[in-house]
C-alpha cells in the first residue's frame, strides 16, 4: 500500500499528501504556467485581432476554445504531477467543474457584458458599452413594471392552485372508486404542451362565437362571454389556463407526500377521537409542510417563467393586462432585436427571482422551525 494511503478500519481509505520529488512538482508547475500563459496570450491576441488592433488572429474563436480544452487537460496532468494521489482525486471533479464553468459561468459573464451594452441587431454600429443606460431605461419603462406587477398577481394565484391541488391529492389518496383512473385523468393536462392548451382552450374553446366554453357561459347567463376583453378577466383566464395545466403537477407531488405519511400517527389520532378536520389541520398539514414547500417553490419557479400561453393567446394584452416579464422580454428581444436591453431585463429578473426565492425560503424556514419548536 502506498505511504500516502492510510487505512481506517476495513473500508475507509484516506488519501494524504504524497512524498513527491521536487523536480516532479516543478515540472507540473511549469506545465501549468506555460499552458495558462499560452491560453491567455491566445485569448488576448484574438481579442486584439477582433478589435482590429492587430492583423494576426483567427477567423473565429474556435482555436481559443480548443486551447481551453488543452488547458483543461494540462491542468489535470499538472495536478497529478504536483500533488500525486491528491491530484488524482481532484481529477474526479475537475472535468465536471470545468464543464460547468464553461457552460454556466462564461455565458453568464457574456450575458452580463451584453446587459451593459447598446446592441440593436439592426444598428450599423454594432455593440457598444453603454454603462447604466439600460438600467435607466428599465427604470422608466412602464411595460416592464407593468409586467412585474402582473407577475405578482400570477404568483399570488399559486396559493389558490396549491389549495386545489391539496384538495385533489387528499381526494385521490382516499379510498374512492376508480382511484387509479382518476389519478391518470387528473394528470392529463400536465402532459399537454402549454402551446396546445393555448390553441385548444384559449383560441378555440373560448372563441366568443362558437367556442363550447363561450356557449356554456352564454347558457349560464353571460350575454357576451368575452374571456379576454378586459385586463382583469383576461388575466384571470390566463391564470385559470395555466393552473389547469400545472395543478396536476403539484397534486402529484402532494399525493406522493400523503402516501408517505406514517399511518400509525393517523391511526392514533383516530383512536383518540380526532375529527377529520382536526386530523388534517393538526397532523396531515404540518407533516406535509416540507413536501408542500417543495411543491410551492417549484411551482413558483415555473410560474415566474410563464410566457407561452400569454404569447399565443393575448400577446400580453389587452393593454398589457396579461403581460408577463418573460413575454415582454420575448417581444423586446425577438421582435425588436434589442439584444442589450433584453438581456439586461432578463438579468434583473434573474436577480429578482433569486432574491425572492431566498427570502421565501428564509421565511418558510423560520415558520417551520417555530412550528418544530412549538411541537410537543
Amino acid at each position: 500500500m502506498p505511504a500516502a494511503i492510510t487505512k481506517e478500519g476495513d473500508q475507509l481509505h484516506i488519501v494524504g499528501a504524497d512524498d513527491l520529488p521536487e523536480s516532479r512538482k516543478r515540472t507540473g508547475r511549469w506545465l501549468l504556467i506555460a499552458v495558462s500563459a499560452f491560453l491567455v496570450g491566445l485569448f488576448v491576441l484574438q481579442a486584439l485581432f477582433r478589435a482590429g488592433a492587430t492583423d494576426i488572429g483567427f477567423q473565429n474563436w474556435r482555436p481559443v476554445l480548443y486551447m481551453f480544452v488543452v488547458w483543461g487537460i494540462a491542468l489535470g496532468v499538472a495536478q497529478v504531477l504536483m500533488r500525486g494521489e491528491l491530484g488524482k482525486r481532484a481529477l474526479f471533479v475537475l472535468p465536471a467543474a470545468l464543464f460547468v464553468a464553461s457552460m454556466v459561468v462564461f455565458p453568464l459573464l457574456f450575458g452580463l457584458t451584453l446587459s451593459f451594452s447598446n446592441w440593436n441587431l439592426s444598428s450599423l454600429e454594432g455593440r457598444s458599452f453603454n454603462g447604466l443606460d439600460n438600467i435607466r431605461q428599465m427604470w422608466g419603462d412602464p411595460f416592464y413594471w407593468n409586467a412585474l406587477k402582473n407577475m405578482v398577481y400570477y404568483v399570488v394565484a399559486v396559493s389558490a392552485e396549491y389549495a386545489i391541488a391539496f384538495g385533489l391529492a387528499l381526494l385521490l389518496s382516499a379510498e374512492i372508486r376508480a382511484r387509479k383512473f382518476f389519478r391518470v385523468v387528473f394528470l392529463l393536462p400536465l402532459m399537454l404542451s402549454p402551446v396546445a392548451v393555448s390553441w385548444m382552450v384559449g383560441k378555440s374553446m373560448m372563441e366568443v362565437r362558437f367556442g363550447p366554453l363561450a356557449n356554456l357561459a352564454r347558457f349560464l347567463g353571460w350575454e357576451q362571454p368575452a374571456f379576454f376583453s378586459n385586463p382583469e378577466i383576461a388575466r384571470a383566464t390566463i391564470m385559470i389556463m395555466d393552473a389547469w395545466t400545472f395543478i396536476p403537477f403539484m397534486m402529484i407531488m402532494l399525493l406522493a407526500g400523503l402516501q408517505a405519511l406514517p399511518k400509525d400517527i393517523l391511526e392514533a389520532a383516530k383512536v383518540d377521537g380526532a375529527s377529520a378536520w382536526q386530523t388534517f389541520w393538526r397532523i396531515t398539514f404540518p407533516l406535509m409542510l416540507p413536501v408542500s414547500v417543495t411543491a410551492l417553490l417549484i411551482r413558483i419557479i415555473f410560474k415566474l417563467k410563464l410566457a407561452d400561453i400569454i404569447i399565443n393567446v393575448t400577446a400580453g394584452g389587452p393593454g398589457g393586462g396579461t403581460d408577463s416579464v418573460t413575454s415582454f422580454i420575448f417581444r423586446e428581444y425577438r421582435d425588436r432585436s434589442n439584444v442589450g436591453y433584453g438581456t439586461l431585463l432578463a438579468m434583473v429578473y434573474l436577480v429578482l427571482i433569486v432574491i425572492f426565492m431566498l427570502v421565501l425560503l428564509n421565511v418558510i424556514g423560520r415558520v417551520m422551525r417555530r412550528q418544530d419548536q412549538g411541537a410537543p
Binding site: Q224, T314, G319, G320, D335
Partner: protein, 546 residues
C-alpha cells in the same frame, strides 16, 4: 401562386367537372364542350408559355419535383444565352431561403437542378422556417457570419442588408435577361435598389386588398347601399349603421369592418397603415411614416391620428365590432371572423380570397368581392401641415414580396459572381415566373405580363374569378399613389413597438388617439436613436429613391 389560391381554383375546376358529368344537363354540356375546345386550342399553341402551363396541367393535381425540374429545363433559354455549357464547373454556391409549406426552396431546388446540370455549378441549401428566418438573418448580419451567397429575402430587409453593404450589385446583363421592365409599377425602382444601384431579382408581389361581403350591398341589402364603400369614412359609417342588425347569411349579429386590435409580431401594424395610408400618404410625397430629412415620425400627425381615431370610434360604438375584438389579431379577423361569416369588410393579403371557398370553416365563398384599399375624403399634407379636402387613395403594399439577392461573398471571384447571378436570374425569369404564378409556389403574380387574363383562361382557369381577384391586386400594384413600405433597418422593430402602444391606446390607457400616437412616435424616436439617426435618414432617403 399561393397554395391556397391554387386549391381554391382547383375547387372551382372540380365543380366545373361535376357540371360536365351531369349528362342530363345537355345545354351545360354543350357549353362546357365549347370551353374545352378553346382549352385544347390554347394548349396547342406552340409557345413556351403555353407549354409550361401544361405542366402538369390545370386540375391535374399539385406539381412536384419532376414538374419543377421539367419547367426549369424548359426555361433554361436565358441561361444558355449567357452561359457556356460547363462554364461554372467546380463553382459551389450556398442558397438560404424558406421551406414554408414545402415550397420556396423546394421549388428552387427543382428549377435549378437543370441549371446545375448545364452550368456545372453545385448549390448547397439552407432551409429555414418562416419564424426562424428573421432571427437567423439578423444574427448572421450582426455577428458577421453571413454564410450564404444567394438569399431569398423580403424587400423590407433591404435596409438591413443592402444598407449595410452586404449585397452584391446586379450586373448589367441581368435586367435585360429577366425583362425587369415587365415588373408592375410599385416593384420598379426604388424597390430593389439602394443608392440607385439594383440588387433584387423580384420573384413575388404583396399588397393588401379590400374584401367585402357582396350580400351586404345592393338592392334590399341590410346596408341599403348599392355599392361597397370607397372611403374609410364610409367604412366607419356603415360599421356603425350595422349595429343591432342581423347578418343575412348566418343570422347572427351583423358587423362592419374588422380591425385587428391585437398585435401580431409587428405585422398587425400594417392594418392601421391601411387606414392611415388614405389619410396620410399624399400623392406628392413618397414619405408617409417618417420625415425623410429628420426621421421625425409622422405617425402622430393629424392624418395618422385620424386613422387611430377611426378605430377608437368603432371601439366606443358598442356592437360595431364582434365581442372580444380587443383580442383579435389579423389571423383571427381573417380566418375566424370574416371567413366564418362574422363581419362584412376586411383588408388582407390574397389568402382570404383564395380561402373563401376552399377552407372548411369558410361560409362566405359565394358572397365575397374584392377591391383596392378604400380612400379618404381628405388627405393630410405633411409638407404644408394642412388637410386637403380631396379624395385620396393609397393602396398599402404590405411587405412588398420576396426577391432573390446575391451577397457580397461572391465579390472577388468573377466566376462565382456570374454563377450566383445566373442562378438568381433563372429563378426570376419571365416565363418561369408565369408558371410560378399559375401553380402552387408561394408567390403571387407580380409582372404586367401575369395579368394577361386570356393566357390564364386558355390554360383552363375561371375567367371571372381571375379578373375579380387578380384585378384587385393589379390595380393596387399599379396605383400611382401606392404606399410603399420603407426598406430601412429594423422596420419591424418600429411596427412591433407601435403594436404595444396601440394595444394600450385601444384598451383606453391613453387619453385618446393623439396621446397614443405621441407614445408611438416617442418609442420610434428611441429606436431611431438606437439604430443611428444619421444612417437611418440616409437609408430612408435611399429606400424612397430620394
Amino acid at each position: 401562386m399561393k397554395t391556397e389560391i391554387y386549391n381554391r381554383l382547383m375547387a372551382m375546376q372540380a365543380s366545373r367537372r361535376n357540371v360536365l358529368k351531369g349528362a342530363a344537363a345537355g345545354a351545360a354540356a354543350l357549353g362546357a364542350t365549347g370551353t374545352l375546345g378553346s382549352l385544347s386550342s390554347a394548349f396547342a399553341q406552340d409557345s413556351l408559355r403555353a407549354q409550361i402551363l401544361k405542366i402538369p396541367g390545370v386540375g391535374q393535381g399539385s406539381p412536384g419535383d419532376a414538374e419543377w425540374q421539367k419547367v426549369g429545363e424548359l426555361c433554361l433559354g436565358g441561361t444558355k444565352e449567357t452561359v457556356q455549357e460547363g462554364e461554372f464547373n467546380g463553382v459551389e454556391l450556398t442558397f438560404m431561403g424558406l421551406n414554408n409549406q414545402n415550397l420556396h426552396n423546394f421549388l428552387f431546388r427543382g428549377f435549378l437542378k437543370p441549371w446545375e446540370a448545364y452550368t456545372g455549378a453545385t448549390i448547397n441549401w439552407i432551409d429555414l422556417a418562416q419564424a426562424d428566418y428573421n432571427p437567423r438573418l439578423q444574427q448572421s448580419i450582426a455577428t458577421g457570419t453571413v454564410d450564404f451567397d444567394i438569399i431569398e429575402m423580403g424587400a423590407p430587409f433591404e435596409g438591413d442588408t443592402a444598407g449595410k453593404g452586404l449585397l452584391n450589385e446586379m450586373p448589367d446583363w441581368v435586367p435585360g435577361l429577366i425583362d425587369a421592365d415587365d415588373l408592375v409599377g410599385y416593384l420598379q425602382a426604388p424597390v430593389g435598389t439602394w443608392d440607385g444601384k439594383p440588387y433584387r431579382i423580384t420573384i413575388d408581389g404583396d399588397c393588401h386588398t379590400f374584401a367585402y361581403r357582396t350580400d351586404y350591398f345592393g338592392d334590399g341589402s341590410i346596408t341599403g347601399r348599392a355599392e361597397p364603400p370607397t372611403s374609410w369614412e364610409e367604412v366607419n359609417a356603415i360599421s356603425k349603421e350595422l349595429i343591432g342588425k342581423t347578418d343575412p347569411l348566418t343570422g347572427l349579429p351583423a358587423h362592419g369592418y374588422l380591425d385587428p386590435l391585437k398585435g401580431w409580431g409587428g405585422f398587425g401594424f400594417y392594418f392601421l397603415e391601411n387606414r392611415a395610408a388614405a389619410y396620410a400618404k399624399h400623392p406628392d410625397d413618397p414619405a408617409w411614416l417618417f420625415d425623410p430629412d429628420t426621421m421625425k415620425p409622422r405617425v402622430n400627425n393629424p392624418g395618422w391620428v385620424q386613422a387611430i381615431q377611426d378605430v377608437l370610434d368603432l371601439i366606443a360604438a358598442e356592437g360595431s365590432y364582434p365581442a372580444d375584438q380587443i383580442n383579435a389579431d389579423p389571423g383571427t379577423t381573417a380566418f375566424q371572423q370574416f371567413l366564418a361569416g362574422t363581419g362584412s369588410m376586411l383588408m388582407w393579403w390574397g389568402d382570404v380570397g383564395s380561402n373563401a371557398r376552399t377552407s372548411d370553416t369558410s361560409v362566405v365563398g359565394d358572397v365575397v368581392g374584392f377591391g383596392i384599399n378604400p380612400g379618404a375624403n381628405r388627405v393630410y399634407n405633411s409638407q404644408t401641415g394642412a388637410w386637403e379636402e380631396t379624395y385620396n387613395e393609397a393602396p398599402n403594399m404590405a411587405y412588398i414580396g420576396w426577391g432573390v439577392y446575391v451577397t457580397n461573398r461572391v465579390e472577388g471571384d468573377s466566376l462565382k459572381r456570374k454563377a450566383a447571378w445566373s442562378a438568381a436570374a433563372h429563378l426570376g425569369g419571365k416565363d418561369l415566373s408565369l408558371w410560378a404564378s399559375a401553380y402552387p409556389s408561394g408567390f403571387q403574380p407580380y409582372r404586367n405580363s401575369h395579368f394577361q387574363f386570356d393566357e390564364w383562361e386558355a390554360a383552363g382557369y375561371d375567367r371571372d374569378f381571375i379578373e375579380d381577384y387578380l384585378g384587385s391586386n393589379r390595380d393596387s400594384y399599379n396605383h400611382p399613389n401606392a404606399a410603399i413600405e420603407p426598406r430601412i433597418p429594423g422596420i419591424f422593430q418600429y411596427y412591433s413597438v407601435a403594436e404595444d402602444e396601440l394595444a394600450k391606446g385601444y384598451a383606453g390607457q391613453y387619453a385618446g388617439a393623439q396621446e397614443t400616437a405621441d407614445a408611438i412616435a416617442a418609442a420610434w424616436e428611441k429606436i431611431t436613436d438606437q439604430i443611428g439617426r444619421e444612417s437611418q435618414i440616409k437609408l430612408y432617403k435611399a429606400s424612397l429613391g430620394m
